[in-house]
Amino acid sequence: MSKTITIEPVTRIEGHAKISIMLDDSGRVVDSRFHVTEFRGFEKFCVGRSFWEMPGITARICGICPVSHLMASSKAGDMILGVRTPAPAVALRRLMNYAQLVQSHALSFFLLSGPDLILGMDADPLQRNMAGLIAANPDLARAGIRMRAFGQQLIRMLGDRSVHPSWAVPGGVRKSLGSDQRDQVLKQLPEMHATINIALDLMKDIHDSFSTEIDAYGEFPSLFMGLVGEDGGLEHYDGKLRVIDAEGKILEDGAAPEDYQRLIAEGEQKWSYLKFPYYRPLGPEQGMYRVGPLARLNVCDFAGTPKADRELRQFRHYGGQGKPVSGSFYYHHARLIEILHALERIEEILGDDILIDHHIRSQAGVNQNIGIGISEAPRGTLFHHYRVDDNGILEDVNLIIATGQNNLAMNRTVRQLAERFIRGDKLDQGLLNRVEHGIRVYDPCLSCSTHEAGRMPLQVQLFSARGELLDEVKRC
């Protein structure tokens, strides 16, 4: 008799999820599905509005990474204006984007995944949470909270608010950074460096304590995609798309934003509101790719800042001989290296005289009807694609969101964990915890990656081949 297990809802991820695991007659896992039951209609209800409003509207898609939408949307707007965005504005946008990377990754590592990583997967669920982490390691929890606050504060300085700022606009940004604000940020950097160093050391211990199961959290060959700079370096704001295969071979390089549809196709499944993007030339099976911190470190030639480059060289050992790192558990480590890189870049930008220049916003009307903006959100490559009429009214909107692109990989990871940890036809806490964590390594923010509205929390259901519900575990 075959069975299906469903897990719902996954706590400590942003959004709403349910997991089904199907067993065959011999009790082996034959399939698993990570359903997203949330549905938000941004692409539809933006039609008829003006592209000028889009940074403000799309920033509302996500309370965790509003800045990423701000970046992609204002860049799409830049393209519609068709004029050059002033260099100081670009520097300021980069600054906010790095601040966003720091705050989002700090949230993911210290606060969302921290309890699993520090307290262990078999810890009592009543303890395996933020409060448990604070009890077990108050210094670390505090440092993590302060790091997140650091990022949020920089975003607030620029955008007047940390959540949903409407600061980047087509053509530039609305406000620059004052010199006393700059000094205030610079003063905090040493503490942030100290925190990230502690976290990087801790990562080594975590790898030791997880050594027997690291390879169950999404260790498989796949493609990787991300932006790289003109020089091939790690890039988060601009640059060109690069796709590599599981051997590290470059399949696609220097692809401009306009080319993204040649690279990516979006599949759909009846059982999830998430789309299933894949690399078009290879089809839905072979074309599975991962995005986000792990992918970015895999596709770039170097980080471009000294400390991050040192860490990156060590990180590459996980992949071995010119190969990309293929285990999704290493997303955690990749996040820390990106924080370090972002801190170095923030310091660089703050020291740049360009910030004094008052030209931060180019004025123009609609000069092109298509706008495509791509940037690297903390969770991966984010695409905003608009078609407007000559008055700037949106006729078509397509958003491809990071979490959606990791959808195939998340499904694969759940299946791998189920195969490894399912014992008999019962669901136990150990499995539940690991499946949750398997999703959490991708730091998915489901609210923004589904394309219409609802609520969060995880449910796991176990089904037989005949579709009978055998067991069910819920956690709110």
Binding site: G48, W52, E53, S166, Q363, G365, G392, I393
Partner: protein, 238 residues
């Protein structure tokens, strides 16, 4: 002008004959919320937010269009009046799609400010969610009918002050909509002089300067007094 005496909120006050209750109140620093009224434009009595109780009248009356009378007894605020005002605001919000959070006038909007001041913290009516368009065909300005509350300040300022009479109203009741040049796109208007007066007097984000981002429109209707003083009293000041 003959002076008359009336009672407002249990105070004996004097006013000039022909003044509206609203004007008399403002002369005595008694606050009454208004939305369609704008100092310098003709009175319209459309929004009903300025409702007051007048002894002897079974219904509440709009202060902006009701003239003062000798021995009138006016109450500008009580439980019923406050409730009605909140209800009017709720209906205004329910009629269109204001979505303050992403509006160009967020934090600088008369409607939003009034809602906060009068304690309208939720809307009990079903939203109509009409599917209304945005007209951004004008070189410099845009109109978002979703945020229009039909105060007709734009119609009046364009006609009475600018003299262009670009704006009008089409339709009836909740189907009403402000239009430019007999319902042509604003950008195709031949009468509009691009002076921007309508944008400045619009109390919400319905009329805006193109290219404005969320919360970026800050309107200043006081220019109107300056222009009118210059015109009528030959007083020019900044």
């Amino acid at each position: 002008m003959p002076v008359i005496t009336l009672t407002i909120d249990e105070e004996l006050v004097s006013a000039r004959a022909g003044q509206s209750i609203l004007e008399a109140c403002r002369d005595h620093e008694i606050k009454i919320p208004t939305l369609c009224h704008l100092d310098g434009l003709s009175a319209r009595g459309g929004c009903r937010l300025c409702l007051v109780a007048v002894a002897g009248s079974p219904r509440l009356l709009p202060a902006c269009t009701t003239a003062v009378q000798e021995n009138m007894v006016v109450t500008t605020s009580n439980e019923k009046i406050e409730r009605y005002r909140r209800m009017i605001l709720e209906l205004t919000f329910a009629e269109r799609n204001h979505t303050c959070a992403v509006c160009v006038s967020n934090e600088n909007c008369e409607l939003q400010t009034l809602a906060a001041e009068l304690g309208m913290d939720h809307v009990r009516y079903d939203y109509l969610n009409p599917d209304l368009p945005l007209d951004t065909s004008h070189e410099r300005y845009g109109v978002d009918h979703n945020r229009c509350l039909l105060c007709l300040r734009c119609v009046r300022v364009c006609d009475e002050v600018e003299g262009a009479h670009t704006w009008d109203v089409k339709g009836r009741g909740i189907k009403s909509q402000v239009i430019t040049d007999l319902n042509r796109p604003w950008g195709a208007s031949e009468s509009c002089t691009e002076c921007g007066k309508c944008v400045e007097v619009c109390p919400t984000g319905a009329l805006f300067t193109k290219g404005s981002a969320v919360a970026e429109m800050k309107k200043e209707a006081s220019f109107l007094r300056r222009i009118l003083d210059g015109r009528e009293k030959r007083q020019w000041r900044r």
